[in-house]
Symmetry: C2
Amino acid sequence: MIEYRNLRIALLGAGNVGAQVASLLLEHREELAERIGAGIDLVGIAVRDLKAARKANLPEELLTTDAESLILGADIVIELIGGIEPARELILLALNSGADVITANKALLATHGPELFELAEQVGAQLYYEAAVGGAIPIIRPLHDSLAGDRVERILGIVNGTTNFILDRMHNAGVSLEDALATATELGFAEADPTADIEGYDAAQKAAIIASLAFHTVIPLESVYREGISAITLEQVEAAKRAGYVVKLLAICERIALGKGEGKGEGEGVSARVYPALVPEGHPLAAVHGSKNAVFVEAEAAGDLMFYGAGAGGMETASAVLGDLVSAARRHVIGGPGIAESRHAELEVLPMSAITTRYQITLVVEDRPGVLAGIAEIFRNHEVSVQTLVQSINDESGASLPAATLVIGTHEASESSLAATVAELASSAVVKSVVSVLRVEGL
Amino acid sequence: MIEYRNLRIALLGAGNVGAQVASLLLEHREELAERIGAGIDLVGIAVRDLKAARKANLPEELLTTDAESLILGADIVIELIGGIEPARELILLALNSGADVITANKALLATHGPELFELAEQVGAQLYYEAAVGGAIPIIRPLHDSLAGDRVERILGIVNGTTNFILDRMHNAGVSLEDALATATELGFAEADPTADIEGYDAAQKAAIIASLAFHTVIPLESVYREGISAITLEQVEAAKRAGYVVKLLAICERIALGKGEGKGEGEGVSARVYPALVPEGHPLAAVHGSKNAVFVEAEAAGDLMFYGAGAGGMETASAVLGDLVSAARRHVIGGPGIAESRHAELEVLPMSAITTRYQITLVVEDRPGVLAGIAEIFRNHEVSVQTLVQSINDESGASLPAATLVIGTHEASESSLAATVAELASSAVVKSVVSVLRVEGL
């Protein structure tokens, strides 16, 4: 076999993931070379602050603040800076200089993905991003390669470890969201400012990336409907538990058949959305505990698949980066196709108002004859069909009027019908309060 | 972009999977062409019996009994005949003629894999086999590509749907193995002769394939230790349930550090083995129900991963075949690396006697003073350390002597120490019977 020259690897960023990638690269140098068929040289690590980087115990001679020069001498550039700029400029520079790029930058891909993939295609370079979604879990490659001959119908993903930790703890330890968040912060599962996780921004970025790949269609981040978990109460979680459900923050990507005259030529659209939903306790996603992530894929031929593992963590994410590195490096040695984006389908991206799903609505109502009929009437007014109804009498000694709690499960209904139903329920004289409205997924 | 000529696809076999592959290929022809960047023509389907094949409703003009001629005119050959011959001869012919080969043939890969991969490497052709393990579940590609920069430490796989269905039903419906098998047969989850599934031969083939890939080492099928589930009783399953375990037939592939002077240079060996084991009920594998499969991977950097889905079925397996087809076809259009076998590690393959694991032993003993001390003595004699001991008094009115049931959990022990312990227990005067000896995995 012809000996191939050593490949030159540039690393941008020496944070949590970057430092792990560097040390794994240096530690497993020989093993990686055997798998690739060529040696790999880590030629430099670009950092913003040399002094801070020295603390990470990385070889000092590799550290530089001159990212541009480092990039121009590299075959493969690993971007682990995060955020939009300067990550975007540096990746564009790397691609323009003919280097392949590996990134874990979900924020950048979700907002500037099309620009980056287009440039990569133009210059014949590759952009790998397995680490951007699901940390260590192989999800980009299975969607891109393994299911390449199949049609993905729906994806339900638990793609944010912080919120899964919090919801799992509320469910199993019976603590409030605030207390669960405090524990998550203490254990290092939540950041100092947890807004991006709690409010679903992180999950929405990942939903945009996954949906774009699964449906061969550009899904802009703005078109991803998003609700976080900050309004979820312990009462909702416990009521869900009693009813046989688990509350999970889901990233949902779905192929939807369009009615006549609504869509573009193909008669299909796609939806990407993030919200807390009720998942039946027997569903594989319900067994995803703590800060673990999992992506549940429903494909036409393959049926149901699930990919489970650590969704974050420096070491875990580094594993995904190194997997991409071996693929990129093999491509250098042998040539051939990488993991280019695919946009040929160009399906219509549907707004939340075009989606139908099931709902569970919890009401406190007056406990007197005729109330149930009145409630049922309101659902019928908006063509929302009731599937289950469970009534329990509230034991509130001292309350002026007897009250009952109704938990109502609906058949599939549109967001707009549901919203109108809930509005009428809220203003009804017999309804004391609308306690909870949650979507049900995974049935 | 340069237009590429249509690729010529030959299909060998029109059974359950073959018929599905053919119809998906024909149905999704245009979609596949878009993903590949070239058209694909199914040029023929080789069958043994034209009359039988016509019943599968395949285009009659594609059917042929002349597999050799079909192969010689193809770019990519899909082998779905199964068994050793003529599958082996036909794959060798295809590779020698320069065609890439896609196969779902686990029996052939487990026994003649090295011969096939060697020829493929010599002639520069590719051999894809995602469908050989785990049906629709992408497992070969994640192990080969996604974890290429990581080190796999251990794999615990539920890779046989028939046995998982049976054990799951025993656990959840409380029926005997015979009754569960009858249901499996009725529902089409078990074959007329279920021996290959029940006795673990199918799982052992898959273990050999997975272990070879994960550890970059040839693992001959003969070196895979194998026990089936035919001796598992409902009593064992129910006792396991009470103790917080689920009985699962596991394919276990493990990297094992060798003691001084035992191994080859590297100081590491690998073990591949199949047996029914106790899995803690909180383990993700415990939630794999019915005929589903799942492969749980423990990697150095990635941590714990799990791949879950349908392990069999014509449609599901066809999805994996088509994923391979798109990869193979893209490689034709763009060139580049495929999914070649990797054997550079050449670790020592360890026999069962070199393995240590935990055990759960259930005994019925005489209920009188001194018995516990005598039992403990027997464990100490063989240096098997007891971790847990649960005693319950048997309520057998009419029995001549009072009896108690002991459930003993051990720390890690070697097979030989355990066997000696059990032998001494069985011959001990105070032990009425050794009810069950099961290994515990997944802790």
